[in-house]
Symmetry: C2
Subunit: 503 residues, 2 copies
């Protein structure tokens, strides 16, 4: 039950600057009973067997399904009951994604978990400049901040969209920022097969081809087109990343009542069926390739039909999908610090906390959107990023459990302190004080008077000051100059090979 | 797994305006294993047997302990191992606290849970008038708002301190506000024995003496003086409320490193020992009197020593104390929407959500401070009250579980909607839309453009508008004029019997 940092100290090893990933020490929570889980699994099997999924725009995917013995009628693919589950069984229950700094390599699956920043917003927002389209300069700042935030274990990819770079070249510049200004693990591009291939090629330059042949160093993250449609973005990404032995994450995004039934149970089952089918497909492409079962359920405003976040239905689904993923034996992506709020205010953090608390407790192994998400994913908040990341450190500690050894029970403390006394300055307090409590840097706990004297700054204002101070203090991790040259040569060649495209 | 409102409709009964309390439909979470729980229980037993608790200022309490066979040396009380637990076994695992409106009566214990507002802050804050001492006018507004908020099942008592009323008469006016402007269940005064007695006397007027003799209609809520000190405020409250068959809640408030050891496990065990001893005492006073085991653990800022809230250590304790209370067989009070923030901002709701999510999931049966708490409990926020209460409705739905019947699985939905189609407007969506998702009134989910056009109001601003609009729409519940006269006579007589005292 000891934390890893304490253990490191005791064993005389130098502790790394922060744990590279989370090692969960507390049990999983069983939200549904066996019968309930069986009903959802049966529903997913029924969808795959009777309704089937559409696999469109990629004849090679249909060929692979046919060869595997699937029932393929035009673009509809159905599998006999149990086949998808059986195919998924060759995927690892957990795997390591390597970072260029070996101390930053992460383990994904079972009791190991990883937090990554928001992915994909076209807009960014900060307190003084407001909301605007994201640029490559914004993305560089966000990569650097993510590198510096200890509870973000993974660099992600499009922490915002760099909208000032041509669409067909954006992935090259974006990926390079992560390879240059961070040493945490990262995602690759997926929007087109050539971009996925470029991502794997750049990973080969950064890590060396031999290493990439035998290890996961990059992952693709895609959504299905719910309901029950898998287009070529998904299958081509799998045919690129999985074929290269790299990681794939497939997350159905279901706004209940639109891309899935409005009832929570049905949406969970549909999402599970879609992701399990993609997992099965990945194992046909390359048995043993790392695959993460994704899930992204959103509820809806009754007034407007707009997506809502942090509500009890998706919170329930975070707990339930964790159970289903563990029974299937696949690592899980779900949840995140999600909100519909436009700013980093009370609504934003209430929704984010309920979403993220259930994500963490539910057993997610890879959490995209764990920090920075605003406005239903349309905007990356600079302030939100550092506020969320501060809370993530708390979830990391929560998942580490509570120490229960003799020191933690502290009977000796009562030798020093009589009833009605106090423990301030007692030997037990002094010996344990430093590591006793999580140090949340974005939480202001001083008195009202101190807070007023310091300008009555709310959290958003303090966060603005913090991320600016962090950027001013940023120091780049060491880079191999030869590999950096090679990366930049590759990018220049690829950019020169095609005219700019803006859509 | 159906929600109670649906069940009511099916059975043709009129549904009450809101569920009077929560009926939990999901399992409890086992944070610690059997061995860990055993270690904490053994530590609590050791504290009671070896260290003992101080019972000061109340000779009658010592007499009761001696008569029961306790080891009493001066003011130190020690019990043989197992005696405290055995005494607690006569307290009910759950009980009903009656409200003057029978539809508002609540059940406390086992899978039934109740949310109550913040208790005791001397200051209030609202967005336009800032932070100031609370007044009787503020308290009246807070009582009315609590009455109107459906996820607050209980009216509490001092939602703020009415600082403009003499200290020795404050309890009379405060309690009257709840009896006059609300019909939800309430707490009584505890600061002095005569004030506790006044509270029970007023309850006798409101409910009738016969009813009070046989039913719980009011409860006292007190803190021990940790570490291990029980003063006369506690024992006299127990000797008043428990003796009258009314409810008692005893919650040690432990700031780890000050009123208890700095390690979480030791603080949990100490709090458990203190509360269990008070439970045992209540059962000596009157076997079978309702008793709620309380727990309030706070962590500490490493920089300043100030209390911190919503941090992983107290969050863990919310889960763990739930396990301990269930094993002991007593209803539990813990947690709340706690924060050190001075305003209803990102910090406030992040801390409150993690605190409250774990409180709800951990199985608390009575949650004081569930809404309105700011600044470590020094201030009641009008905006915070309505924002918190909106989130409480979400926890209520979460605890209600997920429906898994044929309608919820919705196979018929796939008759209407082909893969790649959409469920908007489908028969299954239309039939389930209205009850599918929690309707969070404080969450803004419309577009950025709509939000901007409406003045870019953050949550705090929208909350200010909401509570003012609610007060404008307030309608008092019906009151029995004769009993109201009798209550006011009683208050006037009691006020006339003593000079004003201001401390």
């Amino acid at each position: 039950m000891r934390s890893s940092s304490r253990r490191s100290k005791r064993e005389g090893r130098a502790a790394p600057p922060a744990p590279a990933y989370i090692r969960r020490q507390i049990p999983f929570y069983e939200f549904l009973n066996e019968e309930g889980l069986g009903r959802l699994e049966d529903q997913a099997d029924w969808l795959i067997q009777e309704v089937g999924l559409e696999f469109r725009e990629d004849p090679e995917a249909l060929r692979i399904w046919k060869e595997a013995g699937a029932d393929v009628k035009e673009t509809r693919v159905r599998l006999p009951r149990g086949m998808a589950r059986h195919l998924c069984s060759t995927a690892p229950k957990k795997f390591v994604q390597h970072a260029r700094n070996p101390n930053r390599s992460v383990e994904i699956g079972e009791t190991s978990a990883v937090f990554a920043p928001v992915y994909g917003p076209p807009f960014v927002r900060d307190l003084e400049n407001g909301r605007r389209y994201g640029t490559i300069d914004d993305l560089e700042k966000l990569v650097k901040l993510t590198y510096m935030l200890p509870a973000l274990h993974h660099s992600g990819l499009l922490i915002c969209e760099p909208c000032d770079i041509p669409v067909n070249k954006r992935h090259l510049d974006a990926l390079y920022l992560h390879m240059r200004w961070s040493d945490k693990p990262m995602l690759g591009a997926i929007t087109e097969k050539s971009r996925a291939e470029d991502s794997v090629a750049m990973a080969r330059i950064l890590f060396g081809s031999d290493f990439v042949d035998n290890n996961c160093v990059i992952m693709g993250n895609v959504n299905t087109n719910s309901p029950l449609l898998v287009d070529k973005v998904v299958t081509e990404a799998i045919r690129t990343y999985s074929a290269a032995g790299q990681g794939m994450i497939v997350a159905p995004f279901i706004l209940g009542g639109a891309m899935g039934p409005v009832t929570t149970a049905a949406s969970i089952a549909q999402a599970f069926a879609e992701a399990m089918m993609c997992g099965a497909f990945s194992q046909l492409v390359r048995p043993g390739a790392p695959f993460v079962l994704g899930n992204f359920l959103s509820s809806m405003s009754l007034k407007s039909g707009a997506p809502t976040f942090g509500m009890p239905e998706p919170v329930s689904s975070n707990y339930i999908i964790g159970q289903l993923a563990r029974r299937l034996g696949l690592p899980l992506r779900c949840g995140g610090s999600l909100t519909a709020s436009k700013v980093a205010d009370a609504q934003a953090l209430a929704e984010s906390a309920d979403s993220m608390h259930s994500t963490a407790m539910g057993g997610a192994n890879f959490v995209l959107h764990a920090a920075g998400w605003l406005e239903g994913g349309l905007t990356t908040g600079f302030e939100k990023l550092v506020i969320d990341a501060d809370r993530l450190g708390g979830y990391q500690k929560l998942l580490g459990g509570v120490e229960l050894d003799d020191n933690a029970l502290g009977r000796t403390a009562y030798d020093d302190v009589e009833p009605a006394g106090h423990f301030l300055g007692s030997a037990h307090t002094m010996a344990n004080y430093e590591n006793a409590y999580y140090d949340a840097v974005m939480s202001h706990s001083d008195s009202f008077e101190q807070w007023s004297d310091n300008g009555s700054k709310d959290t958003e204002r303090r966060a603005f000051e913090r991320w600016n101070a962090m950027l001013a203090a940023y120091e780049a991790p060491p880079t191999d100059a030869a590999r950096d040259d090679e990366l930049r040569d590759f990018i220049n060649r690829r950019k020169a090979s095609a005219a700019d495209a803006w859509y």
